[in-house]
């Protein structure tokens, strides 16, 4: 099996969470003997090459961050330049977001199924996973640990050729957190996270507080 992988994050490869996720995922693919080629939409110089690859490959995987509840603007811009295929080409998606609950990704997932149809491609499912914002703030082993579970999904995809298996569906995790968890995590959001975020912000060189209002 050969898979054409398109990373649809506008973030440069080095900082892209999707790229780190794909790093683990493709390890799983390779383990099962599948091959792949990976492209980045963030590198506009490669768009012609990606378009050619889109027409030449019959097994396409588009991986992306959720951007305001749907696909990133840059992916729409790229897709708008494509012709629909209608030749049995398969398309699958990895949709990953910052918020943790699976419920946050369902609207985007619904669109991806519509999108496959609108491109004349055969829909082979979406791997949905939230809670990925922190990947870019982590380093080394901590980061590897965060994306590790995606390797297993690469194995599963190489075996099944789609994301329809119960294992892939379960990978999304809980739709919502139960009330006690929301209360606990809510406390952490209120009392612990702001100082952690402020630290991260200082590391970025911020001179203003996180809740600063530049236009008022």
């Amino acid at each position: 099996m050969h898979v054409l992988i398109i990373n649809a994050s506008p973030r440069v490869k080095q900082y892209s969470n999707t790229d780190k996720i794909l790093g683990a995922f493709t390890k799983g693919l390779s383990e099962e003997g599948a091959t792949f080629s990976q492209y980045e939409l963030s590198d506009r110089r490669s768009w012609d090459e990606i378009r050619n690859a889109y027409y030449e490959n019959d097994n396409i995987l588009i991986a992306m961050p959720l951007f305001v509840e749907c696909v990133p603007g840059i992916l729409m811009e790229f897709l708008e330049t494509l012709k629909s295929k209608n030749d049995g080409t398969k398309v699958s998606f990895i949709l990953q977001g910052g918020f943790y609950e699976a419920s946050q990704l369902r609207c985007g997932e619904t669109y991806l199924e519509m999108l496959a149809k609108n491109l004349g491609l055969e829909y082979a499912g979406t791997l949905v996973k939230g809670g990925n914002f922190g990947i870019r703030l982590a380093e080394g082993e901590a980061r590897d640990k965060q994306v590790e579970p995606f390797k297993e999904m690469g194995v599963e995809f190489a075996r099944e050729g789609s994301f329809f298996s119960p294992k892939c569906k379960a990978f999304a995790g809980p739709e919502l957190f139960p009330l006690p968890v929301r209360i606990m995590v809510g406390m952490a959001f209120k009392f612990a996270m702001p100082s952690y975020f402020t630290k991260a912000s200082k590391a970025f060189g911020a001179k203003k507080p996180l809740n600063y209002r530049p236009y008022k």
Binding site: V68, M114, F197
Partner: protein, 168 residues
């Protein structure tokens, strides 16, 4: 105040809106954005982490953002593509992220970001071309949840009268 961003090149829609808003005396900023230089969000997170509230992409969106933070309603007029709004319309929504902060909270059982300003604009969409109206309405509801505001709905170009009834 209402902010209307027209990302299509069809100014007939905004003409109709302008006339009606003058009649009902609603203050509005109408921005013809189809020829403005507005790029996509590059996901740098600087608007949260480095220069809180300010976008690192210095293009024509900055002036629009300054208006959005004072608006009661934000309307985007967009062409459609592949059953959704096209990239020009989507970029207007993706680039609005500076109006929320990085901090988190729970609202209606789901995680949300804490608002940067006291109030965020309610959001509406007018779309031109083929698209699934039910899906766009569902998506707009989700967009509003993320901004901590309300969805005014997604309206076809031919339903601009219905959209206007939300503005007046």
């Amino acid at each position: 105040m209402i902010v209307i961003v027209n990302t299509t090149s069809d100014e007939a829609i905004t003409d109709t809106i302008k006339q009606q808003l003058a009649v009902c005396k609603v203050e509005a900023e109408i921005i013809e954005a189809s020829n403005l230089n507005i790029g996509h969000c590059i996901g740098c997170n600087y608007c949260w982490l480095k220069t809180p509230g300010e976008c690192a992409v210095k293009d024509d969106y900055e002036e629009i953002l300054k208006k959005i933070v004072h608006a009661d309603q934000l309307w985007v007029i967009s062409d459609t593509a592949l059953g959704f709004i096209n990239h020009k319309g989507k970029n207007i929504f993706d680039r609005v992220i500076p109006i929320i902060t990085m901090n988190l909270c729970f609202k209606k059982k789901e995680m949300r970001h804490v608002k940067r300003y006291k109030k965020n604009a309610n959001v509406g969409l007018i779309f031109k071309g083929e698209a699934d109206g039910d899906f766009l309405n569902r998506w707009m509801e989700r967009v509003a949840l993320n901004l901590g505001s309300k969805s005014l709905g997604a309206f076809k170009e031919s339903e601009v009268k219905e959209a206007l009834s939300c503005m007046c």
